[in-house]
Amino acid sequence: MTRRGATFASVAIPLALVAVLALLPGMVGAYETHLLILTLLAIGLAVSYRPLLLAHQVSLAHGALYAIGAYGFAILGVDHGVSFWLAIAAGGVFAVAASIVIGIPSLRTSDAYFLLITFAFSVVVISLIQNTESLTGGFAGIAGIPYPPGVKTEDDFFYLSLVVVAVTVAVFILLDRSRWGLELRGIGSSSDLAESIGIGRTGALLLAFAIGALFAGILGGIYASFIGFIAPQSFSLWLSVSILTSVIVGGVRYVWGGVIGAAFITLVPLLFNFGGSWEAIFGAVSVIVVLFAMRHGIVTELVAYCRRRFGSAPTASVPVGGALGNLDGGPIPTRLPIGANHVLEVRGIAKSFGGVHAVRGVSFQLCAGETLGLIGPNGSGKTTTFDLISGFRRPDGGEVKVNGAALAHSPHRVVRGGLARTFQATSVFTGMTVFENVLLAAGAHTRRNPLRRLLLPVRRSRRERRIAEGILDELGLAASAGALAEDLPYGHKKVLGIAIALATDPDVICLDEPATGMTEAEIAHLIAVLEHLRSTRQIAIIVIEHRLAVIRTLCDRVVALRAGEVISEGDAETVLDSPEVAEAFLGGSAE
């Protein structure tokens, strides 16, 4: 399908769907209309829940936030006479406030805590609703909740829900295509890599939790108005679980996964008239079957199948160096001169783990455009040094300055100061194309208008596209731009790791074992790439590498570490040929 065709379809199909749904109330009975309204609300819940799951975070609080919205609306609207839509909005705001209060402490730590805390939160909310009778009516609930002004019949209510849920889905499609949507995918794929290119993990997740809460709260109010009566039984923990179930069954990758999943999980039990227990069993079995048989969910697997069957899958197997013909084998491009100012100053940094001094008193400086090799046997503290200067670990002592400013203590702030790093293991964002990998990195570290970050499709931002395309071109990855990152051959993945770091426009780039595991041809390609970089920008490079031939070819200076301390420093030839280094590496003889 052409681009224009795809855009047309992505607008026309949803509109057609809404049109078909709009015809339904005239064609089906009152009972079916009732079911359709419940299904629409379930779709809204699933779609607003999905962003967290996209970032690989499971919340079991969505149902509780829905309950908070419903009760907030009912208490204000029924007991205090607040006008209808104001009370609905207030319900949304209450849910957002709750999400922030529990999100801040629980999102900072590992994913498991968030899951446990949101689960506990749900139980506590239900228990509070049951036990604060003066406010919530306890088990008796709140009755006599009115329809919205102007809405008379259930058919009217259907149209209202249709509009609200269609708007919800449209908003979440926009969010999904935005830079923030891409950030969430990045966090879900690798939260370390995401931090290393400047994405603030906690902030992005909190936003997902809060935006989801806003919609859950509003939908909760609408539900309360539709049913006319709310009680604790309406919001059991099962509700949160069934929202999670819907998205997993439908598939996380596309917004439509949430839509289809919610329709499936809600409609099937209602249509076949399963009782309470069998409805739960149906949901549970659906999840287990999906996780065993089609791990990515119905919609995701269906799209993948159609791509394989009908579309031309983008091929990833471009021969190494093929696209870099202009670089490989040609004369070495002229380097830009080394500057006089220090872009990186490391002074006496130290870190111990338990009683082990991983790094002790390590100091070195780096000038703009210079290349420094960091060598040493396994366990000598090379990667720990990288972790310390890139903000992934906090040093016990000493200081690091990038461009004269003291280092920030979190990776996503360090990269804003001009220092980027790669990781020892191949580290790319899986589930995204090569182009999206670099596009994400190309804008993640710059501050921007929050509305643009949330609502502007990330592919529309011309400047970042240009940066990403330029870097892919430079590094010889342009031909694989449309391939999924995980499908790249090994050497290409490593180069993509460098492209990601480079896209943050760093003054200093730290490469952790870039040549490890590469074939000779891939190493030649890597060296050509780095030499090319030095000819186009005055970038300072630090390389950790065990292949000393790579160090010899590239580095101006070398720092050798052993047991966490610097044992030798100087120009590459001197250090590599020094007896201390030879001994540290090989126990006597030279390379």
Partner: protein, 281 residues
Amino acid sequence: MLSQVVVNGMVLGAFFSLMAVGLTLIFGVLRVVNFTHGVMFMLGAYATWYLNKQGAPYLVAVALGGLSVGLFGVLLEIVVLRRFRGLLIEGAVVAIALAILLQNLALQVIPLSPQSVPTPFEGTAHLGGVYIAWQRIFIVVVAVVLIAGLSLFIKRSRFGRSVRALQQNPQAAELQGIRPDLVAPLVFGVGATLAGLAGGLIVPVQQLLPTIGEGPLLDSFVVVVLGGLGSVEGTLIAAMLIGLAQSATTTYWTEPASIAVSFLIAIAVLVVRPQGLLGNE
């Protein structure tokens, strides 16, 4: 009054630790947040009730009940959870689904009306102004013996070393010849046994209803969050703290508030120490 509150709290803490230690061990080795733990508790309680009704003496019923739940846990790990080892999200989702499935399948066979189980430890002890049911003293004794034995086993035995190695670094452990396919089902079985025993131990002093596992599941979640996921010592300290907090809330305020209070304590600790009391995540 105060000493009664403290004693009640410690009894509660001992009971929580029976549940929570298994949860934290299972998370340490499988990286799965085990939502089936409450169902295991419920199954242990009903197995005890059933065996007792068939004529088995209470102590035999509890032991057999716990062991059969443990065996069921081993099977569950091998058949289902094995595939989701190390996958936090998928593992949690599948555990939730299993919990719901098992709970609702159980509803098809177990009686829905409240049941009770008689115990040989009847009556209440009166010790220095503090009243405490003999059955609760029995629960504390069993909990202390089991957890002390388990800690010793994990510290000293070959199997225990494998468990700790898998917790710290699964890949390195596998390279050393430790087989997660053997260790994980056993760890899951041990956790399930403890949960099943806890269920059997509680039925003489609590009405047996199909929902009996929900409260303990939540309590043990709060305990492991507070103690630090994967840390047994942290879990024990947290179990005591939560026990005392719930006992105090119940006595001085109102029972329904106790779960909210323990949740707030866990949240407050997370604000100061994001990894829990003794966690090292």
